[in-house]
Subunit: 590 residues, 2 copies
């Protein structure tokens, strides 16, 4: 069926159920950013494949909401269908909740599947319609009903994440968690966030490529820690978990378990992560809402074992990146394409110790394709790499001992002055961010400015945040910290890690992005307060062929030279002579 | 009675009423920032005179909450009393709601006067105590009961603010307001914010020095606009208001009016401005909450008449400032003190057209006193001004045709290298802010960084926001826009005005602040979005004797030279030869 045929079928089902507006989410019941295809009803309905998207269908409109990273991609994927793109972060664009409330007439009905929308989303809708006498039908899986060839859920087993990698035992994590729960006067804690659960229980799985978390819920009180998971996946870890006092339950039993739970009254939960169906069961309890899961805040601060592992992982990763860049510069123009380059960077990583898989789908984008921030090269239908212009490669590895995320825009020959200008502008933003000193208490809404200011001076901007937290062999996007100008209250704490990835994207021409990963460290304590800074720990040269040195201040030049000196010191002794010589040249002082 | 005697009396009354924690606010029933002494129970109880403060008394603790502007002052004013200062914006300090909830035992009682706390504050307390079975007594004016010599409320008449000053008639304002109310599906709008009411009805009053708004409520629906005010104040405007269809009601009748109101079900209100007592009456309606009053957002965007008036007012104000600086430099060391200087700057303003009164109490602070951001010199007990160091003067005028707010730190002789360094650092921050280019949609949480970044590089900070909105012959602090690193969602719109006032404050040594007022203007629209910038319209030289030119980039020097060139061009023709010659020297290129 085409998207429009599906739409017309859906509208028939909506008529049958007397539904005026139907909301379709790509989310699983955990509000995960990345979901198995089984849950991705947005992709099924609209062909949109981005990681953030939501569809609303009325009798005469069909809209897709997504954010700036996906505008160009969404326009392509929705072309030739009746779906209209709503740029969800642009000025004046109604969010899907407002749109749905506005477009449904008084005394109308809105339908959705309550396990695919969060408690917060439904609350927002309820608030917007409170004066319009609109009814909600919250258990309607109309798309599920239409979907004949729906993919199956994964049965991949979960495995133990060894203490030498993760640093803190599940018993210690549970004990620390319970202390915080107690302070918050909670009797029990309903966790829906799957990467939090993987972190808490020191488990990893393989439900999806590049994702090591697995579908699960957890209910924690002061006596029990119950893990809800497809039991077939637990054969390799069952005895160890039971030895540690964890109760294993089948994931389908969560609703019944909560209905019958009688070990406490006050339940702590995150309304953004808890699906509406679960929140409804808990409605007869006292719900204590946390804006961020406690486990998310705990997991964001990397422990000393994790930080030491990340240093080693990033040296390994840097060597793979250097070999890749060398290969790319030698082979550009010899018949390779974007997909070959994506495969190759993974191949070089594979040669390193403890490598599991890429930490996300590699973005390998040549020139105009790089203007799409989250472009994905399709084998057989992607661009040849010519010995001119530049290839943007955003990639990373999931290693047992940590994850990496790094972007280089690699120059392959002649580039225009405009390109060099933008490349250097991105570098100025990157340096400004990397070199930031900030007062403890600052949030990402403020700190994002460090990267954005140099660009705004020239009336240039990028439609994404400047950086995100990074999971430890977990989710590549991890909160609560985030570098974005949008309101976000998370404070940057010592031990958090964050990417630094400003970019310039010129549609139809090229994209430039330079990304390293940094950690938050203490800097200075004085009469004015406690000051913090970042330390970069991605090690790979920034292509000097793209740099217009005339645009850099002497301060910025010093930063670049010092960064390159560090890269050379960290990596050179681990490289054979030819590669070492190349690195010496690539990291020369300017 | 001393503060401690009052505390002990209050605790007797608390015992009589079985109250474990009693909350005392300095607020009137409108949650105004500045309140007549009649309402200022915090000042009465604790001797703290700052504009932001709240007291909580339990049987064994007495705490005052205030923000960074008042830390030093509060410590002095609370000395020799049992009151403990809670630095409300410091890391880890519990807010008063948390403190009160924590310090009250299960099954205890919290008391307060419901007309002095906002609906939001009480809601927050209710949420924090929901698991503790604590009772609230919400109609307890225990301090009022103790307060024998309580000052009277003002009877000063209100007057019409002429159209040539304010630009838009009350009929037009009401019509625009009702359009927005309709969009929000409100049946009526309960306005508690007094400066909003003065703006909406084009009235001004004189309840307090330096404040031209007056105690009032307004209830607006589609047929009526009811203004609640002490009727004795309205003799000069009654006929005009009635001609414009405004219903005049006595302020004491608001509670009864709302109880009997039967012209609508859905009431719009701002829970931060509406007092708890009023919200309780409205509880049987559907309350539609707005985070910012509609009138506040409307008033913040100055109309073209207001902007044209402000330009003229600031030229007039700049001439007064120049005459003041000349006088000060000539008279330092000749027996004058801080209070003399404060009087003098007002005297020079008075000579200008349309001047009414200062727009706030002048801060005239010599050296160490200037480290207190909101220092107030007391006649007979203030510092002599010597011909060395510097005087910080933060002052402004309320003119019929607009208000000004400007700070100069004026050098009077020898200053240390450290002082010059800090003076220049403040200038760098000021320039960075004044020269900001930003994407439409940015909030003050992000924009504040422009000023803070140069300081943070040196691990220096100031415990205040960088700037605030400014009323038009109204409240000197006006929202919703605010330059602060704390979360604040207001977007900077074209036509808003904002101060730019970074500073460095070294306790016991000196304080430096340089403040101008700016307006938001459109800058450039391109593929990346809509860019905005600021335009400074305060005209007064920045003291070059404080500037270490070696610390400035050539870009910063250009800004300073261009600013001074503009000041000279705007003012010189209006000055006699001697003053003009001085101005030419004071605005010379460096």
């Amino acid at each position: 069926m085409t998207a429009d045929e599906k739409l017309s079928l859906l509208r028939q089902l909506m008529k049958r159920e007397s539904i005026d507006a139907y909301i379709i989410s790509k989310n699983d019941p955990h509000q995960s950013e990345y979901t198995p295809d089984y849950w991705n009803q947005v992709k099924y309905m609209s062909n949109f494949t981005g990681s953030a998207g939501l569809v609303v269908v009325t009798m005469d409109q069909a809209g897709l909401w997504t954010d700036g990273r996906y505008y160009i991609q969404a326009e392509r994927e929705l072309a030739n269908s009746a779906f209209i793109l709503h740029r969800s972060r642009d000025h004046g664009v109604r969010c899907f909740e407002e749109f749905t409330a506005d477009e449904t007439a008084e005394y109308g009905t809105i339908g959705f599947n309550g396990s695919a929308l969060s408690m917060s989303q439904v609350k927002k809708i309820e608030k917007l319609i409170q004066l319009k006498h609109i009814a909600l039908k919250t258990d309607m899986d109309l798309v599920g009903e239409m979907w004949d060839d729906r993919p199956a859920l994964s049965k991949a087993p979960v495995f133990n994440h060894a203490l030498r990698f993760c640093g803190v035992s599940r018993a210690e994590k549970l004990s620390a968690l319970r202390k915080i729960m107690k302070k918050k006067l909670a009797d029990f804690y309903m966790i829906s966030s799957t990467d939090d659960i993987a972190w808490l229980f020191n488990l990893r799985g393989n439900d999806m490529p590049c994702k090591s978390f697995f579908e699960s819920f957890a209910v924690i009180d002061y006596e029990n820690a119950a893990l809800f998971i497809d039991k077939d996946k637990t054969r390799d870890v069952r005895s160890e978990l039971e030895r540690d006092g964890i109760t294993l339950m089948d994931i389908g039993d969560i609703y019944e378990y909560l209905e019958q739970y009688n070990n406490g009254r006050v339940v702590l939960l995150n309304p953004d992560k808890t699906c509406y169906s679960i929140s409804r069961i808990l409605n007869n309890r006292e719900i204590s809402e946390c804006e961020t899961d406690i486990t998310t805040s705990m997991k964001a601060i990397k422990n000393s074992v994790e930080l030491a592992n990340l240093e080693k992982v990033n040296i390994r990763d840097g060597i793979a990146m250097i070999r890749f860049i060398l290969w790319l510069k030698e082979n550009a123009g010899k018949g390779i394409d974007e997909a070959d380059a994506a495969d190759k960077v993974t191949e070089f990583r594979k040669a390193g110790e403890n490598f599991v898989e890429p930490s996300f789908t590699t973005i390998s984008a040549y020139m105009a394709n790089a203007a799409m921030m989250h472009y994905c090269a399709k084998r057989g239908a992607c661009a040849r790499i010519r010995p001119e212009g530049a290839l943007l490669v955003d990639s990373g590895g999931n290693y047992y001992d940590g994850s990496t995320d790094i972007t280089r825009t690699i120059i392959l020959g002649r580039v225009s002055d405009k390109f060099k200008h933008d490349f250097t502008l991105v570098l100025k933003s990157h340096i400004s961010m990397a070199d930031a000193v900030f007062l403890y208490g600052a949030t990402g809404t403020s700190l994002d400015m460090f990267a954005r200011m140099p660009m705004w001076k020239e009336c240039v901007d990028y439609k994404s945040g400047t950086g995100h937290g990074l999971g430890f062999f977990l989710n590549v996007h991890e909160g609560p910290q985030l570098l974005t100008m949008r309101p976000n209250a998370a404070v940057f704490e010592e031990g958090m890690i964050i990417t630094n990835e400003p970019g310039v994207y010129r549609e139809g021409e090229y994209g430039v992005r330079t990304e390293n990963t940094m950690k938050v460290v203490k800097y200075q304590d004085n009469e004015f307060g406690e000051f913090m800074k970042f330390e970069t720990f991605s090690y790979c040269p920034i292509d000097l062929q793209g740099v217009d040195a005339g645009m850099l201040t002497s301060y910025e030049k010093d930063w670049l030279n010092n960064y390159h000196k560090m890269v050379y010191e960290k990596l050179s002794l681990r490289l054979p002579a030819a590669e070492r010589a190349w690195l010496a040249e690539a990291t020369r002082s300017i």
